[in-house]
Amino acid sequence: MWLNMGPQHPMTHGLWNLRVKIDGEMILDCDPEMGYLHRGIEKISEDRHYNEVITLMDRCCYVAGFAWEHLYIVAAEQALHLSPPERADYIRTMCEEFQRLGSHLMWYAAFVQDIGLMSPFLYAMRDRDLILDLFQSYTGARLTYEYMRVGGVRSDLPPGFGDRARKVLDWLDQKFVDYDRLCLGSTIFRERCDGLGVLSARDCVATGVTGPMLRSAGMKRDVRKDRPYSVYKQLDFDVAVADGGDVTARYLVRMEEMRQSVRILRQVLDWLDHHPGPVLAERLPRWLGAPYAPQGREGYLLKRNYPKGVGFSSVEEPHGEAQAYVVNEGGEHPYRVKFRSPVFANLSAARHYLVGYHVADIPPIMGSVDICVGEVDR
């Protein structure tokens, strides 16, 4: 019998449909059905100025907007032969790491709620709000920031930001202890999650699974270490790994990643305190400014003579390894933009970590995968 879990189901965390073939309570097969959130972001990008695509990136993954902005910006700058000032690079890294914290807290909240815990859900949402407050203080938005620009970032950080951010980090550092006690300290949690949804490292590689799911199977792979982009080369941090590849291992990896993010952020904030400077590259082509149409003859000539290029970037997004491929054919719009979403690959492997378990195991397993449908469907 085929059972539809979705498109509206508390387990889905977004709009998609998990069709499972069951015999009694046992899962025999499954077939995720995507596309309910397909907005054609790749197609719309072909009709936008380079900076206007950033607006779409925030909507790609609505809990990790900054990571997607960063991904696109790195590829677009490569395609346009531009580079940002160093301070802008540090600010972007800070944005991405805060976003990782925000995204993982959102995952924690959703995941513990899936297995029936209500208080940790409220704690995590409360702490995530502190990060959103920080975002609001320098971008004006809590979810869709539109902050990064080709060639830098929109504006510098407000005065006193570093101290406020450090306060949030200190608070989070304390709270992680509570989070762990609430989950790992609970026998009910351990019995529910240990040995559930196991995905081996071999299957991970074969099916293209990346991110915390891959690291929870014991593979030490992180784009930030393996192929450092932005300023990650200058930062000191460890890659979180765990063994087992089950739901508990994924929990451990994400919790450790949050601690490492706090460690990275302390270094980045210190650097930003001592290195003032410009945050947007000088001498950007005038037609690049999104709200301004090419002005007069000069802008037109610049646009026509602009060299072609291709950009490829790979970023460790909170869910895994995201990639962007941007083709610049000399026009004011990108000719083609292609994104690789990590959740897309993690979800395509569903058969490997669902078959053989029970229907009641689906919410904790899918909760541990950390699904964001916005970036799967794009």
Binding site: N4, G35, K43, T207, R227, F312, Y325, V327, R340, F344
Partner: protein, 158 residues
Amino acid sequence: MQPDDLAKALAPRLGDRLLGVETFVGTAGRVRFRPEAALDLFRAVRDELGFRHLSMVGGIDWVDHREVFYVAWSDDARQYVILSADLPADSPHIESATPVWESANWHEREAWELLDIGFDHHPDLRHLLMPDGYAFHPLLRSFKLHEPEELEVKQRSV
């Protein structure tokens, strides 16, 4: 790994079906090949060069032809490689990479429905993001954003 290393390793396997290896910023190189060499190349790249992790499959509509590209990662070399083939615009099709890299499955389904690239011997080539029976390929340049199309969508049988 440099583009020259890639060319040296692949040339004996592929002969003149290998069209060249270009430098590509941030990767080991961009391998251009004839579509009929697809499976041989995929196997050589995965088994001999160690690119065991296929990250994505994408396509580009160049109007006069269509390009399909693959991005793969090697844990030993800690590098990406890009494989790219040009397909004729009138009947773009290539051998499916799914038997070699299982992860190609969904990416090829997406490239097929959005760009009308056929993947021969794909185990499960059906719509992924678009509804069943959707007759258009939105990422083609001929699909204009500002002209709404009339859609007739078949009901999916459960």
